[in-house]
Amino acid sequence: MIETLTFDVTVVGAGPAGLAAALEADAQGAKTLLIEREARLGGILKQCIHDGFGLVRFGEKLSGPEYAERFMEQLPKSKVTVFTLSFVSKIEREDGVNILTLVTRDGIRLIRTRSLVLATGCRERTSRQIGVHGRHCAGVFTAGTAQYYTNILGKLPTKRCVILGSGDIGLIMARRLTLEGAKVVGVFEAKPTPSGLTRNISQCLWDFDIPLHTSKTVTRVFGEARMSAVEIASVDDCMCPVAGTEEIIPCDALILSVGLIPENELAESIGVPIDPKTKGALVDERNETLVSGVFACGNALHVNDLVDYVSESGETAGKHAAHPLPIQRNLVPVECDASLLYVVPQRLNQNTEDTERVFFFRSSADLDNATLTVTRNGQTLFSKKYAHLRPPEMERLSVHLKSDQLAGAEPVCFHLEGSRNE
């Protein structure tokens, strides 16, 4: 007999976003379920044993597991029900209620829930998605997988490697592998500027004399059963390899840090519209998606740079998931032009008493003395100055906007101006 359980709020994923969402929903008095696929809570934080987590939130530098622990230790004091080793295989919607099918070691379970919070995190782009060619031998790892082998299993996946992509995990793995006894030949980045946080470039590369080569990419992999070398080449303005610039570097592994993709397969299965810019759901300022009763948060919503913002986004979703709106939403679109990579939320609700609206955005270029202008119907709602903006660094912005400022269907438009820093 398949057991059916009913909750007010069900949170899928117990990484930093899901933990915060579940605790907040519980604090708001909702009967809350937290579902985790793995045996242990904490998501990817479990393997992030470097420090730097929690500066914004706790004012201290914590490791990933320590940061997760701050939330996990509150769970026993809460009424949150936690299922680990539980996998959501299907979501159906019936009269506005979400019905989840769970696969667990105790059998199949059905969960009926009024509000659903998707905190499903993100996955790494693979070698295939960026077109690494040549032999398909052992030795190609995403940075996160290499991190799991090194930090969770305590095994080294390489003795001499090349890192492609200067995303934060790649930079952190460059340091980590060096500390654990491997030789990192260099970090290669196809773009002209590094993708990771400035502090990581300094602390993970410069401090360990690891060279960073921009405008260069890996074009081919060599080897039989295990990798023996990679070919690198310079790229032109269109990111295409330039013939004649190829160079062979002997190595046993290629570690990839070439971007993260929000995991939204569950969201898409119930028809949640996705923003092509963020690859996450379109949400309002309460992190509710365009499907009522379904919320999204954390890296499933958009890839964050700091875990502190991930937790905040989880709390926002958890809080509002616990309190369904009494009246239907009236949503105004938020748009940005090419000067921004994206802005979240992409919708604002007119029908709300709350006037505080929190935005997260990224600039699409390195800008000095930048001005952010937010307009509607050609009128400026507000503007803000920034000394410096970089695409890898996300900006958080809190603004008070009253309902009457949002009357009508016209979009709220974000625009950045500043001097380009080449």
């Binding site: 696969v103 070691r105 199949i108 693979t126 398909h136 052992a138 095994k155």
Partner: protein, 572 residues
Amino acid sequence: MSYIKKLNRKLQERFHGSVQAFERDGCLVLQGALEQWDDVVSAGLLAVNRRCYDGLVNDIIFTGGVIPPMRLPALQDQALDGVEPDVLIIGGGIVGCAIARECARYEMSVLLVEKEHDVAMQSSGRNDGMVHPGVDLIPGQIKRRYNMRGNRMYDQICSELDVPFCRSGQYLCFQSKGLAFAAYFAQVYYKLFGPRCRYLGHTKFIKREPNMNQKIQAALFFPDAGVVSPYGLTIAYAENAVDNGVRLSLDTAVLDMKLDAHRIVSVSTNRGTIYPKIVINAAGVFSEEIARMANDRFFSIHPRKGTNTILDHKAAKRMTAIVSSFGTSSTKKKHTKGGGLVKTIDDNTLVGPDAVETYRKEDFSTAAQNIADVFEKQRMTDPALSLRDAITYFSGIRAATYEEDFVIRKGRRTENIVHAAGIQSPGITAAPAIAVDVSRMAAELLAKTREVRKNPEFNPIRKAILRPNELSDQERDQLIHEQADYGEIICRCEQVSRGEVKAALHRSVPCDTLDGVKRRVRPGMGRCQGGFCGPLVLQIIAEETGMPLEQIDKNAPGGELLFGTIKEVQSE
């Protein structure tokens, strides 16, 4: 004027004395030296003549590069030394494995040797898995005969071996009004000679496949086309063979043979010398080398590489069947029936393949340009085709003869060999029928020395690893209550449970690699390409086999993923 004279004149004109043709023992032989591999192949294709000769042997020396020797297993032992099987099958591709299973129907002792660490490691695991209706095969071809017979056998064989198979059908699309007109007449030809087909005008086609190119004027629909997992079927054949008493020896390469009076007496391998009564050559791209060792060489292989791209499940929703366009892949010039866009049995879309001549028989590398070219062509069929949907890509090498046909026969000179060689597309389709005939030939040869009876114990049924994902919620719940491991999902993209991974490690064909598990139960086949499940599968392999983590290979010996405990490893 004789054919040889005319041919030599043509060769003189084209290669200015670098190539000569002559007859030897009923075969046409080419000799000489050329610097370009494409010229070596062109000379062979220019010379080939099926009417006058038993086969073309191309002995032109290629001077423009070094042909890599066959990759050999590192393993050296005497495990097979002195073994005397009735039948020795060389090659664990789909043909060799299917022959092994069919041989088990007779009272014969059978040994199957494969140089790789698993079956289906070369062409059989590196194709589009299409069960061809035989659209562009010509009456008279051996491959056409086996394709037609093999295709009809698929429902039964896949049901016996518990392998998913779907007759999804194939559309051959025509882009211009003129071609649509020709297609209308082509269906008359197909009605006379097969395969079955139906003509669909523009409106009907677009109604059935609304996401395909709106410019398609007409299509022929071949309902007999289907899709299967080619490595899944090969593994199933091998498992059923082993279950019926066939001995399988992996990591075993044939190195040489000793003959006496037109009979193979012994076969030496890296695992000792074997003394078989009958030898079956199912060695794929290396079948010419085996024929050479057996002193029975009357064909040559010119390897032809093809690259396929696999798209995410999301992209597979765009169509219901195999869709190809006339003029993109079905051209004789390119010698590939290549599916075009194949909706696979695992609900991915496969795009490809192309066809490139190569002298490297085991170069499975991929190149961006080949894939870009294939996509460009296939956009004729589906304009929305995007490389962004690609989750992976792979290459395979077809074992083409110059006759562009299969070689399925007893030896010409050597009495105790049967060749199942030159098998390229449609080899997957043809394999079940080839296996029936080749096993019978082996039994006939053996019957010259002793009576060969049918094996009364033969069991044609093989049970696959459970697929909980395909059960109803109630059945799945029941299964999990019996075995909790089926309730723990290891691979999120393909929803593979711990129970399935464990089961894959305890089958009758051994499996102890990450990719071996992937080929059997699919963890890592999805969009994250094993980023999340790889380390979990690795740990399960270690738990189940007792191997240390750092000894587990990705795909083949020497392909270890880990180097040892952190801080203890010396960097290089």
